[in-house]
Structure formats: C-alpha cells, structure tokens
Symmetry: C2
C-alpha cells in the first residue's frame, strides 16, 4: 500500500506537527487538514501546517489514503462521524489519542466495513497546545504505539509503521488494553499528580502564591510545566481511561502511604532504600535517548549562557 495523501483532522500541537513533519520528511505526500475552530484554520494556513486547509472535514478526508484524527479523545467519535461517509475504500483511519481501548471500540462500531482502523499514539508532546505549538521534529526518537485489532491486514499496519518511522519515530505494537495500563503509569498518573499538587499549592492559606512561585526552583516548577498541558485533552483522557488510571492510582497511593508512615516513624532506612533505587531508572531513560542528559534538562543554558 502506498500513501499519497494524508488528511489531518485537528490542527493543534499534534496535528500541526504531523503536517510539518510530512512536509519535511515525506515531501512527496500531499496533506490536507481541517480544524473546527476557524481561527486555528487561519493560523494553519499562515504557518503552512498542511498543504491544503479545508473548511470542512469531509473535504480534507476525501481521497486520503490515511486520515489521522488529532482531536481530544472525547471529540474522536464526532470527528470520525464527519468523515466516515467520504472515506476511500481501504483507507487507514488512525488517531493520536492517549487512551485507546474505549475509543477504538466506539469508532469500530460505526465505521464503514472497508475502513481500516489502526489506533495510534505517538508518545510525544510539550506543555504547549494549539496551531502555533507544532514543529516537525516532535516525533524524533520518540515512540509511537499502534494498537491494531486482530485481523487488521498486515500490509496496512506496515504502511502506518513506515509512515511513523519516516517522521523519526520508533514504533511498537501492542494490545489497546495494555497500552492504556502502560500509559496510565508513564503519562496519566504523572499528569494527574502534577495537576493536583499545583492546585494544592495554589490554594494554601499559610503559604502565599507569591512564595510558591518564588521558591518553585526547589522542584515544584517541574510539576507546573506538566500541569500547563491542554485541559480538554487531559479531561478526556481521564474520562476515557478511567479504569486503568484508578487501578494505577491506587497502587501509587499504597506506596505513598508507606512512605508517609516511614516519615512519621523516622524510618530513614526505608527512605534511603527507595531514594537509591530510583536513580537507576533515570540512568536508563537517559541512556536510551528518552531524555536530555544535561543537568536540569539543560534548562537555562540558553537564557543564562552556562
């Protein structure tokens, strides 16, 4: 299967980055895009996020070999509904959602039989969102997870694998339910915790907001970056990946209760043991190119000329 035209529905951080990445790494592929917000469409034209910005989702999807839904998880079904009627037989319908099981089931229910649904999740992003946030290198050295259902034609899966690899990503295939549990740990719970603690710190009476901001370099500021992520996207993730998130949250809460008890009891041995073990995983993440090796992420090198 050859992909000649890609349609991108939703032109925010992810959709815009895919459009820019295709232009850079797969220039022979034409792209068309749509966003429900006219102001976003306008910026997409100005930034050249896709070859053609359409005022209608169906126009963008018409004739595409690959349609990628880049909207919040909660808007996927509606977005798919708007294009289902014009999908070319044999076209791949994919997405970039951070939660896969419920969405794949919902989409599969009403899509035309000839449409090949291959859910995908590029594990990449920044805390910024919208049509100005995207850039072509977003997927470089990042993993993209595909969750095809059994029976999906292998040549279609292969075509999508090649597409993501061409954008710089490494691809792994897994079951949608497993994806949701893995991402609950590596992404959803970290976001939930970050949002919550930033909320906690903002609302304290005895510690002022000004103090929280001033002394945030002690660790808190890292959480504020994650907690600046797109609210609609994240609300939808928690609404759709509820079971896995609640399960993993309870494991975390059990561990946190153990640490609370260690602090209460003055049990330095338990603390030291945990604090030593956790260094190892950081080293592996850096060694495998999944994070910047420089101290503090290299933060400030630019501004302060270190």
């Amino acid at each position: 299967m050859t992909i000649e035209k890609v349609a991108i529905i939703g032109l925010g951080l992810l959709g815009g980055s895919i459009g820019l990445a295709v232009a850079e790494y797969l220039p022979h592929i034409t792209t068309a895009g749509y966003d429900s917000d006219p102001a976003v469409r306008q910026r997409a034209v100005e930034r050249g996020l896709v070859g053609q910005v359409c005022a209608d989702a169906a126009d963008a999807a018409c004739g595409a070999d690959l349609v990628i839904l880049c909207v919040p998880v909660g808007a996927m079904v509606e977005a798919a509904g708007a294009i289902a009627g014009v999908l070319k037989p044999g076209a791949i319908l994919s997405d970039v959602g951070s939660s896969k099981r419920t969405i794949a089931a919902a989409l599969a229910e009403f899509l035309p039989e000839e449409t090949v649904l291959i859910p995908a999740h590029p594990v990449a992003g920044t805390e910024h969102s919208g049509p100005d946030a995207g850039f072509a290198k977003l997927f470089n050295q990042r993993w993209c997870i595909l969750t095809p259902q059994e029976g999906t034609p292998p040549e279609k899966v292969q075509a999508l694998v090649h597409f993501w690899e061409a954008l710089g990503a490494m691809v792994e295939t897994m079951d949608a339910a497993h994806h949701d549990r893995v991402l609950a740990v590596t992404s959803h719970i970290p976001h939930l915790i970050a949002y919550t603690i930033v909320g906690t710190a903002s609302d304290l009476e005895e510690v002022t907001r000004s103090e929280v901001i001033k002394f945030s370099a002690g660790g808190f500021r890292d959480f504020t970056r994650i907690a600046a992520s797109d609210p609609v996207m994240w609300r939808d993730v928690f609404l759709h990946n509820k079971d896995a998130v609640l399960d993993m949250l309870d494991v975390f809460l059990t561990d946190l209760a153990l640490m609370r008890e260690a602090i209460r009891a003055g049990d330095g041995v338990t603390m030291f043991d945990l604090f030593t073990r956790t260094r190892e995983i950081r080293r592996s993440i850096v060694a495998l190119g999944q994070d910047d090796a420089r101290p503090d992420f290299g933060r400030g090198d630019h501004a302060q000329g270190n």
Copy 2:
C-alpha cells in the same frame, strides 16, 4: 563587617558551586574547604573548587569570617562540632540545608556564644551531586532564604545578604518554621511524590521496566529527574522536616482523593476546572524568571538541533 575568608565544609554540588562562584564573582575573598571524603577532596583540588583544600575541617574554618556548612542536614551538627572550637569571634556560621527549624535549634545549643548563626537555604540545585556537579552560575536568579533568629546583629545579616547577592542570588528573610512549611510545598512534597511514583513504576508486574523507560516521554521522565537527587540529602530532609511534610502531604492527599472521586464519577467539570486553573501559576513562574520559557524546558534543543 567585611568578609575576607570563607570556609566551605562539604564540597558537593552546593559547596563546590559556592567555591566556584566566589572565585568568579568575589575574587578578593579567599576560600578554604573541607570534605570528609578523601576522594572528594582530591576532585576539589583538581577542579579548583576552593583556594585551599584542607584535610581537616578545623584547618579550613580557622580564621574564616564566614563558615558555610554544605553537608546533608543530618550531618550538620557533627560538622559544626568539628569547627566550633576554632571559630573566630564574630564569625558567621551558615549552611545551605533545605530544612531549617530543627537544625537551627540543634546548632544554637552548643555553639560558642560569640558565633553568629545565620541559617540559609539557597533554593537552587540540579539532580546531580558530588564534587563534579557544581558550577559558578548555580545561584544566578535563584532565591536564597535566610532565617536569622531575633537578636542577630543586623550588620551580620546584611553581610550575608550581600554575599549571596554577589553570587547572583535574590535574598529573602523569614522565620525558620515558615521556611519549612513553604519548602515542604515547593520542594519536599514534589520530591517525595517523584521518588514514590518512580518506585511504583519500577515495581509493577504487568507493566515492564522496559516499557516504563520507553514510554517515559509521556510525563514520567520529568519525575525521574527529581527522583535521581541525592538520597542521603533527601532522607535527612524528611527526617528533619517531618511535621511540615506530613501536614502538607495530608492536604495534597485530600485534594488527590477529590480528583480520584471526580475520575470515578466521570466528573469532567471538576477536572476541567482544575486543569485550567493550574496553567496560570506556570505563566507566573516563567514570567518571574524562575523557569525556562521554552517548551519542554528547551530540552533536546541541544541534542536534536531544533
């Protein structure tokens, strides 16, 4: 009061950075340093962290106008004991510990009466530690909190303020107990949470460690940086700032329970409300120069040439 000689006890990230910063910004001040680890002393000589590396803490402190204890909080009393006998009358004894109330009380108890104790906490650091981790600009644009007791001679406090300002820091003075509650929120709880979730993720049975590492760019990797911080330092912080940490942890746990219930109940309004509010504090932190404004902390700009 004029500071002509500074002694630095403990030559890790903080002590080493102070030594390098004095050489760069206050070159007329002489520095002497000591570390209990001979290998650290050796590296301190090689890197020139201080003007003179001594094999004995008392030798380093002898004749100093300002002695700064840069050891983990749990080692402060022993470090102070080793130099108390040689402290020059009127000398300032300070530190860089992340917890202040219990330590200030412990030190005050056995110090000679002529010694001026002014606890300090520069809110700066990276996840690295040891004699190779320090750099002269660590304190640039960072806050340093002083917690002098009532009755401390103002000219001594002023001398320490000027010292830290010369190293690039902004200085704020507050009560030790208030310091401990502010830092519990902006630093200690974030570290506790990060250590705990990295431990949780490392120990899961159904999600492998390899998956956690691969898909860490979804948010988790940020927590691993903080959880790579020095284990001894952090164990001591939790042992010494127990009350404030437990209080703040309980406020956080209450808020997290509310979010858990919102997820369980599918209450998107509560989620959206929190996720929207938390963006504001990030903007203020960036606006006040306490974090890098670039997406993702500017991470990867160096490696990937974005």
